[in-house]
């Protein structure tokens, strides 16, 4: 019996935290998020060198082929540091769908480049349809729409769904940016106007609908981890601030109202971390309760993180509401995670349906 991270995972966590603290401080986060594209290719390459982008890419394609629990550890750190990178899509959804494919040509085209951080793939979960070898329709909220090298596109739904890899330069494909509250993960709307697809682009995923649900659950789990990271970091920063800011002649952290706000956030976050570890582990082990846990986790993590970041902004008072204060980064990050791939209410409904 050993519930928790392995020594390797703990080491990976602390080295990634150290790396991000040094190389991606909030100053760099702000520079990237304020840029037009919100994307920094050199950052993605650095993440590649740290093993972050290829964490779920199988070793024979140049990745580390680790577990989802490892990916969750990474996601928590990316959330803590508010790193401008759509990890859940580029390093989870896209590579998991590619890895499930039997199209060797596409796998060896993209997986090694993802692992090295030289390509970012956007993942489209619903929208376009294939008719007569052509894709039409559109999809919104596509991560990295404006900068992706290619998209993994889910066409149709249910057991007849197909997955195609479509380069962004394909003729008939057009992208428009959407701006969300969170500038650290960009999304866009992708339009398909008779984009040609064929056997070469088809990923040929066996048991596509089950495989897709599984990949989607993995992405939900890492979004939950990102939210946990955001919540934890907010609390760390809020406690630090509360120990220095003085009012009425004493530090505000000595006021019980402030202490209780922080204690409540702490009490909410810690069991969430345990639930995250279990959900990721259950996914890795394909346990029977894994689908239910993924849905429960994401709904709970997103509620807890929005609550936590909201509380922590208040610990800062007016300062917390400024653009200048970093609290906004995690508050908005939690807001983005909350709605993507299923809102808390939608996922509770899904969890109930998955309850045996």
């Amino acid at each position: 019996m050993d519930f928790g991270l392995s020594d390797d995972q703990t080491l990976f966590q602390s080295s990634l935290r150290g790396f991000l603290g040094e190389k991606v401080p909030t100053g760099r986060v702000r520079t990237i998020m304020e840029s037009a594209s919100g994307h920094d290719a050199s950052l993605v390459q650095q993440l590649g060198e740290q093993g972050v982008t290829g964490i779920l890419v199988p070793a024979e394609y140049g990745g580390t082929g680790l577990s989802l629990l490892d990916a969750a550890v990474a996601a928590e750190e990316l959330g803590r540091a508010a790193v401008p990178y759509s990890f859940h899509a580029a390093a989870v959804l896209a590579p998991l769908l590619l890895a499930a494919s039997s199209n060797e040509a596409r796998k060896s085209e993209w997986l090694p480049r993802i692992a090295e951080g030289r390509a970012t793939l956007g993942a489209i979960v619903a929208g376009p349809e294939v008719r007569d070898g052509r894709l039409s329709g559109s999809a919104s909220f596509v991560p990295d729409a404006a900068v992706a090298s290619a998209f993994v596109v889910r066409c149709g739904s249910g057991p007849s769904a197909q997955f195609h890899v479509v380069p962004r330069t394909a003729s008939g494909l057009r992208v428009e940016a959407l701006s969300t509250i969170d500038d650290t993960r960009r999304v866009g709307e992708v339009f398909f106007d008779g984009v040609a697809v064929d056997a070469g682009t088809n990923l040929e995923i066996a048991d596509a609908s089950a495989g897709f649900e599984r990949a989607l659950d993995a992405a939900r789990i890492v979004l939950a981890a990102d939210s946990l990271g955001a919540a934890e970091r907010s609390l760390d920063e809020a406690v630090k601030y509360a120990l220095t800011r003085e009012q009425f002649g004493r530090v505000i952290g000595s006021f019980q109202a402030v202490k209780h706000m922080c204690a409540e956030v702490f009490a909410e976050i810690e069991p969430l971390r345990s639930l995250l570890w279990y959900a990721a582990f259950a996914w890795d082990e394909r346990r029977d309760d894994a689908p239910m846990m993924a849905a429960l986790l994401k709904s709970h993590a997103c509620e807890a993180a929005t609550e936590a970041t909201t509380t922590c902004v208040q610990v800062y008072g007016g300062m917390g509401f400024t653009y200048e204060c970093d609290m906004q980064l995690w508050f908005k990050r939690a807001g983005y995670n909350r709605q993507m791939l299923g809102s808390p209410a939608a996922l509770r409904e899904l969890a109930a349906a998955r309850m045996s």
């Binding site: 050993d2 952290g253 000595s254 019980q256 922080c262 810690e270 582990f281 969890a351």
Partner: protein, 395 residues
């Protein structure tokens, strides 16, 4: 991450199952009263002898003398729960006093009290709180003055659960009036039949007279009833409180209660109702989070890591969650949810209604939620004490 227990533990699991198969027919129903009927006491003895209750208490004190093994305890819990069989009496004597005595008592005291307590023959009550000293427990005033070989006690305790059923009380009293607040307290054992001691029942909001006021008017207690040293009572008493908090909010009970709550929602036809499903799933997430959280704490203990701050939240979260689960269950019952034990139409003989009220008491008892938050922020997050509270630590 490895959630398996390994072959030797699976062997142990088979032993537990064999015991349950052999004894199931004489087991009382899962929920049993405090002092218990003859059947309950008989069951308690079988559990102690078989090593399924007070398992690690040394043999010379009447226990089974097993080495502490957390996984074995978990397996016993799991198998008893699966079989729907009572794990025996869980009162303040067994869960709080015995572990404290093992730590601080002398040989005579251990020999005298532990055996009868774990066999359910001796019931204890906890005499800590006073009318003026609840959260600020160390301000307690009940005095004990040494007169020859006896302490003479004067004062009053309040909220004393099971004072009328108990033969004995473990109490905190002030023996050194001139010492600083925390250093003037001693831990004394009081015979509830001693002359000068009177008990007045206090009715809880549940309608049961579950706790009491206890008055001491020159109550004489032999000197040998002192546990630990004079003036060491705060330290000894805090050890008891740690055992109390470990008991309150335990995750396996919460999970049981959650599973029963799902049944209630199904029985009342609201499991498919979107609003109830939503509430249920919120609670499910918190319940599982606490379950895995306690597995994480367990792993820390197995690996002999010192408990971290995250361990401080078990009582706070667990008690609140238990209350929320009961609230959901009685909501699902609509008007029926208001009925008390014994009414016509009542479900499960009012167990959920009682739970709904009683769990609120446990959010307060053993240290209130607010006090728990103080502790979390101070010990867990390193935030300063309130300037006023700094003069006297809360419980």
């Amino acid at each position: 991450m490895d959630l398996s227990y390994g072959p030797e533990y699976e062997e142990f699991r088979r032993e537990v199952r064999a015991f349950l198969d052999a004894h199931k027919s004489v087991a009382p129903p899962a929920a049993i009263g405090l002092e218990g009927s003859p059947q309950v006491r008989d069951w308690q003895k079988r559990l102690v002898d078989g090593g399924y209750a007070s398992r690690t208490v040394p043999r010379q004190y009447g226990g089974f003398g097993a080495k502490p093994d957390l996984l074995q305890n978990i397996i016993i819990d799991e198998e008893f729960r699966r079989a729907g069989v009572s794990r025996g009496m869980a009162n303040q004597g067994i869960s709080m006093f015995v572990p404290t005595l093992l730590q601080y008592g002398n040989e005579d005291q251990k020999l005298r009290y532990i055996g009868p307590t774990i066999r359910g023959e001796m019931i204890w009550c906890q005499g800590y709180s006073e009318p003026g000293s609840g959260s600020d427990l160390a301000s307690l005033k009940t005095s004990a003055v040494l007169d020859g070989d006896e302490f003479v006690i004067n004062g009053q305790k309040i909220w004393t659960s099971t004072a009328r059923e108990a033969q004995m009380m473990f109490a905190l009293v002030r023996t050194e009036p001139d010492a600083p607040k925390h250093e003037g307290i001693s831990y004394l054992l009081v015979d509830m039949k001693a002359p000068g001691l009177t008990i007045r029942p206090l009715v809880m909001m549940t309608g049961h007279a579950g706790f009491n006021e206890v008055f001491f008017d020159n109550v004489r207690v032999p000197r040998e009833n002192l546990i630990g040293r004079r003036g060491q009572g705060w330290e000894v008493g805090k050890a008891t409180l740690i055992h109390e908090r470990n008991m309150l909010g335990a995750a396996d009970q919460t999970e049981n209660s959650y599973i029963r709550c799902v049944d209630v929602l199904r029985d009342f036809g609201v499991l498919d109702n979107a609003v109830y499903r939503d509430r249920l799933m919120k609670i499910a997430a918190r319940t599982y989070a606490m379950k895995f959280h306690s597995m994480r704490m367990l792993t820390d203990r197995l690996k002999k890591r010192p408990p971290d701050a995250a361990a401080l939240i078990m009582k706070l979260n667990g008690c609140q969650l238990n209350h929320d689960i009961a609230k959901l269950a009685i909501d699902a019952m609509a008007e029926t949810g208001t009925l008390k034990r014994g009414s016509r139409h009542v479900r499960a003989d009012g167990a959920w209604q009682n739970e709904y009220m009683f769990q609120l008491g446990l959010i307060i008892g053993g240290g209130t939620a607010q006090i728990q938050k103080n502790i979390i922020s101070e010990i867990g997050l390193g935030m300063p004490r309130e300037p006023k509270a700094a003069r006297g630590a809360s419980r």
